[in-house]
């Protein structure tokens, strides 16, 4: 039974004393809930490996190196996309299904997201500080919008953690961030390296 059912079901039609008893029972039940939620396995080693400091390329690193990194980033994104696809395949709507599998799938998607982010960020850093009005400045502004939005969704999820559409929205925003970074890296690559053909 969900907390909403618990609140709305037994409380309906009760007299005031019954309501107070139900409220007390609810508070007791809330107090008995664990303070932290355990996941099935220790995910930290995998996360830590992916979050190892990446040696940022020098500002004028050869274009070939950056393109190699871009390829690996795109590969990482493909994995992230696959993880997301698994999420989306679990229901008829584009939203991930809620249930026992969601936390593990979300953790997996989070790890791949972090990995792709670590791969992509150095590529965009090499572009330097963008001048106002340039495409890179647009990218930066858009990234800030996406990241702020993701923070807002995470805050909302803390208040409503079982929300399917908020979980879906967060996944969607992570994809957007990676896509913007990928475009940004591609643009930086084109701008700095110039035509190669």
């Amino acid at each position: 039974m969900s907390s909403k059912d618990f609140i709305q079901g037994p409380a309906a039609g009760l007299e005031q004393d019954d309501e107070q008893r139900a409220e007390a029972a609810l508070l007791d039940r809330l107090a008995a809930l664990p303070k932290e939620r355990e996941v099935g396995s220790d995910l930290w080693p995998a996360i830590a490996r992916r979050l190892e400091p990446v040696e940022a390329p020098a500002a004028q690193a050869p274009a070939s190196e950056r393109r190699w990194s871009l390829r690996s980033a795109v590969a990482a994104m493909a994995v992230a996309g696959l993880a997301s696809m698994l999420l989306n395949l679990s229901g008829e709507s584009p939203q991930p299904a809620v249930g026992g599998n969601l936390p593990m799938l979300s953790a997996s998607a989070e790890i791949e997201y972090s990995g792709a982010l670590q791969d992509l960020l150095p590529l965009t850093v090499s572009a330097g500080s963008p001048a106002p009005g340039t495409p890179l400045a647009d990218f930066e502004a858009s990234l800030a919008i996406v990241r702020d939005a993701a923070v807002a969704v995470r805050v909302a999820l803390e208040r409503d953690p079982q929300s399917r559409y908020l979980n879906s929205m967060l996944t969607s925003l992570q994809h957007r961030e990676l896509n913007v970074l990928k475009e940004m890296a591609r643009h930086a690559d084109d701008t700095i390296a110039g035509s190669t053909t």
């Binding site: 909403k4 609140i7 709305q8 409380a11 709507s93 584009p94 939203q95 495409p135 647009d138 990218f139 502004a141 858009s142 919008i145 996406v146 939005a149 807002a152 969704v153 909302a156 208040r159 409503d160 929300s163 559409y165 908020l166 879906s168 929205m169 969607s172 925003l173 957007r176 913007v180 475009e183 643009h187 084109d190 701008t191 700095i192 390296a193 110039g194 035509s195 053909t197």
Partner: protein, 315 residues
């Protein structure tokens, strides 16, 4: 006599001087431009016009960083590109065959200061078209192959296009779209979206842009915004599904009076107002829900919001 000769000589000298001055006036800009181009390595703007075969079921991929790209359909199995390649651009790259053409304005190393290219493309009406730009605006008219894919970063997209699948994606650019493509996917980060669609499957998604959309024959529609407001004038064709999700953006959903669908709306802390059904407020907390069945209830409409206000009304 000598004075006469001297006067004649003086006239001749004056004429030579005048010619030289005229020549200098005429040639100086060219010489200076050439010297400047040599000094800066920048190519001058170039007018182009090229025509090549392209099958009606072929594909053209167009890549332009800056400026404006216009794509129009015509009834010839031919691709025509004309316009101006911006000053400082490297060259206009044209590759491929009659099944697939790729046209790209190449830019040189350290391309700062490159001027925008203004290019117009005429493509076979049935050809697939992919346009990728950075800040260049994309204007498409009448195209409608199996795939129409329009992507810009800060450039705007303005399209009247059909076909099987249509993608219009921007980061900060606005999207203005009229389409009868069967499947449409519109996506922006901060750009506004204004779309009138006759397709069956529509996904429209923005982070902070506003979404204004009319789609009245939907089989499946998914509309999502984080903080941008949405005004959706939609209708289902038969047993379709429409889902709307918002974090803090307001949702204004306009449905037909003869709708046959089960409608559900839910908001964590925003308000819900509806001309149909009764809004239920949770006994504890701000949570609100709405459910009503219209007609035979065969379709499904679902609206979810966290803090954005939801309004549902009949057309």
């Amino acid at each position: 006599m000598s004075q006469h000769k001297s006067a004649a000589g003086s006239v001749a000298t004056d004429e030579r001087t005048a010619h030289a001055a005229a020549l200098a006036r005429w040639a100086a800009p060219l010489v200076l431009t050439a010297l400047a181009a040599l000094a800066t390595g920048r190519a001058a703007a170039e007018d182009v016009e090229h025509s090549m075969a392209l099958d009606d079921d072929g594909m053209v991929v167009i890549k332009v960083v800056k400026g404006e790209v216009r794509v129009e359909a015509w009834d010839r199995e031919e691709l025509l590109v004309r316009g101006e390649v911006g000053e400082g651009s490297d060259r206009l790259l044209m590759e491929g065959n009659s099944q697939r053409r790729e046209i790209e304005v190449k830019i040189p190393r350290n391309s700062r200061g490159v001027e925008g290219s203004e290019l117009e493309f005429f493509v076979p009406a049935g050809a697939s078209v992919v346009v990728e730009t950075t800040s260049a605006d994309i204007i498409a008219d009448g195209i409608g192959g199996e795939l129409v894919e329009l992507r810009a970063v800060s450039g705007d997209i303005e399209a009247d296009a059909g076909g099987e699948r249509l993608f219009a994606h921007t980061v900060s650019g606005d999207v203005e779209l009229e389409s009868n493509a069967r499947r449409v996917d519109i996506n922006s980060v901060s750009g506004d979206i204004d779309a009138r669609l006759a397709g069956e499957e529509v996904d429209a998604n923005t982070v902070s842009g506003e979404l204004l959309l009319i789609a009245r024959s939907l089989d499946r529609g998914h509309f999502e915004s984080v903080s941008g407001d949405m005004e959706l004038d939609v209708a289902l064709a038969g047993t379709g599904v429409i889902s709307v999700a918002s974090l803090s953006g307001d949702v204004d959903l306009i449905l037909p009076g003869d709708l046959s669908a089960t409608c559900e709306a839910e908001s964590f802390s925003g308000s819900i107002k509806s001309t149909r059904g009764q809004v239920e407020k949770a006994k504890y907390g701000p949570h609100k829900t709405l459910r009503f069945v219209s007609g035979d209830g065969s379709g499904r409409v679902q609206v979810e919001s966290f803090s954005g206000d939801v309004r549902i009304r009949e057309r």
